[in-house]
Symmetry: C2
Subunit: 399 residues, 2 copies
């Protein structure tokens, strides 16, 4: 694939070398589609890159992005910490031998009994963003460290960010004071700029808010120590982003601008950016259909769809790079047509891309394989249990 620069989305799949693509195809040949192929070596590279670029931060992998056993084993061996969203994730990590002090309970929404369970296992640091939750933590995990999550706007992020998590900077200060009065350790703040965030300035805005909370808390006699910067670092979808290096340098600069020499403990929680690039979803064309005589676009139906792992195509939020068999799905190499892509279920909502038109070969036919890249995050576990009878997305892991 020396001709990658010809592609309209050059940054999108520069991580998949020609050799690796050939290896994937050889591996896939006798496998029935659809399935997700995860390349562990890509994850290892991403981890090493993050460690190199963020020497000032502890890495807590957001296991919800991809909790496959081998992914966890690899990252655990590499020394990563883990951000967990539920007691089920805690149990999985414990089962895989991850030490409890490597975990942070990052979900601001948790049952009292789940906090108690996490505490009984030894978790001593929790995210929070509300009075009720703080009271629950104080009661069920007494004396623990807490950090308060700040609201973010999410502007510039591919995956929508709602007001579901976080609170304003002033309420955050109140909550830290409250935490102290409840016997907890008010330890820091967190934010999340939105998943696949393209606008690096978002970190500046968020860190400026953090500084405000640090200062105000200090006025109340609380010395904060931690900023959990959450996720938001990018993966290689079709829309170009800056390189990770640019993100790291900018974030370092924003930290220095706000905190000078006294940069707090920093946690980052990469999920998407750690694992997305490792995955290729291998799928097959079931049907190509020309709907209406006056219609310009053919419909291409694949054997996987929104309910088989590609739920992040909701509102066409995430746009994955798509390779054809020859790895050359590029304008000029073969005759192309713009198509609408849809999944195999009887659900009319199971359409992947209709507004955005992917270009596929004009002679596309049943059985042709498509390789949906950058599908290592938020795919396999999102998959539905049995919708339309289809089994959940199968996963193969390669070293």
């Amino acid at each position: 694939m020396n001709d990658i620069p010809e592609d309209p989305y050059p940054s999108a799949f520069s991580y998949l070398t020609s050799d690796e693509f050939e290896r994937l195809k050889a591996f896939s040949k006798d496998k029935q589609t659809p399935f997700l192929y995860i390349n562990l070596s890509t994850i290892e590279k991403e981890y090493d890159e993050l460690v190199g670029l963020f020497p000032f931060a502890s890495i807590y992998y957001a296991i919800k992005a991809n909790p496959e056993k081998q992914v966890i084993d690899l990252l655990s061996k590499k020394g990563s910490c883990f951000d967990v969203a539920s007691i089920y994730e805690i149990n999985q990590l414990l089962d895989q031998g991850v030490n409890i002090d490597k975990m942070s309970y990052g979900n601001t929404i948790k049952k009292s009994e789940d906090i108690a369970y996490a505490y009984s296992k030894g978790i001593r640091i929790y995210a929070s963003d509300s009075y009720m939750d703080l009271e629950k933590i104080a009661k069920n995990a007494p004396g623990s460290k807490v950090y308060i999550r700040l609201l973010s706007e999410g502007v510039g992020a591919d995956w929508p960010l709602s007001k579901k998590f976080g609170t304003t900077k002033d309420i955050a200060v109140d909550l830290l004071v409250k935490a102290k009065s409840l016997g907890l350790i008010p330890y820091g703040v967190s934010f999340h700029v939105g998943s696949q965030q393209r606008n690096i300035q978002s970190w500046d805005e968020a860190l400026t808010k953090c500084k405000y909370v640090f200062d105000k808390a200090k006025e109340s006699g609380i010395e904060l120590k931690l900023i959990n910067m959450g996720g938001g670092l990018p993966s290689s979808y079709i829309k170009a982003t800056e390189e990770m290096k640019v993100y790291a340098e900018s974030i370092k600069e924003f930290l220095t601008k706000n905190f000078g020499e006294n940069i707090p403990e920093i946690i980052i929680e990469p999920g998407r950016s750690m694992v997305a690039d490792s995955g290729v979803l291998v799928t097959e064309v079931i049907l190509v259909s020309h709907k209406e005589n006056e219609d310009k676009f053919d419909w291409v139906y694949l054997d996987t769809g929104k309910f088989g792992g590609l739920i992040e195509t909701i509102d066409e939020s995430i746009k994955y790079p798509i390779f054809t068999e020859d790895g050359k799905n590029k304008i000029g190499t073969v005759a192309q047509k713009e198509v609408i892509l849809a999944g195999p279920t009887c659900d009319s909502a199971d359409v992947l891309y209709e507004k955005y038109k992917y270009k596929l070969p004009e002679d596309l036919k049943e059985g042709d394989r498509l390789y949906i890249l950058t599908t290592g995050a938020y795919t396999n576990t999102y998959s539905s249990v049995y919708f339309n009878g289809f089994p959940p997305l199968k996963v193969y892991i390669a070293d």
Copy 2:
């Protein structure tokens, strides 16, 4: 619940008697939430009602709406036929002793090998809407009956209908001629007006199109015999619909208007309307949070959400009636507040209702149970495998 008429949505839960709600609560008491409770007797009632109201139609239950074993067993015993979307559904039905001639392969998107498999098992009637698919059927299920699906607009339906399925009436005629030339039996047409369709006129428009295709096909020497009217009949969500009786009478009238005394064989494929009313999703409040000082609405976080079975809340399409413990979540009975409802995962997209504000008791607290009604369709199998570590939605079946 004699005071149901006081409720702003009186049609929404008239099917759940006070006795049945008490029985559900007694059953639920010692069960850990979240779970879906399915009342088989409601399904039996709905089936009997449909048989009574549509004596001119064969009922093919769309098993994708809810494929629980006991649901299939009940409907099979009652004499229902089944609309299947995949070979996996065929296998499930065969495993449960359903005769193959009770099945119709209603998915227009199917692999050649799946058609061959269905044919080898004995399926002799297929839906289609494209040349490529017809060729696949002719090759892999020679001599079978086919019916061509017509495009519908879906206006008036709660769940969005796309152009994913169906074709124009003129292409339909071409396809029927093509089917004949391929050695298939051009047997009829089908349509789907859109799930939870409120506008009964939609059936009139669709049947007028069918008549056009019947007439045009006749000009080409093809005598069509079947209209598959698909689904679209309503369930009891919060927005009132006409009673099923009104739908049945109107549809009968539209049929007569178009076909006079020579009404073709009619198939209906109830999914939602057959099973939705049978289900109650029992969930618990995890957290109530007041986000911002200037914000009017509290956030209420439940232990189930978009990825735990409630995916049809996408774009707030389907609005379920919600009961509190006393079955009296009605204006005037207790102090109410408008809230935003969200699920338990760390995903910011896991918000159920934000634009539409449900009213819940002002003193709502952790552990309070909510009963989400009309959740018997398109919930359990849509549930994600393991997102955020949460297990798929559990189901209990009551006689």
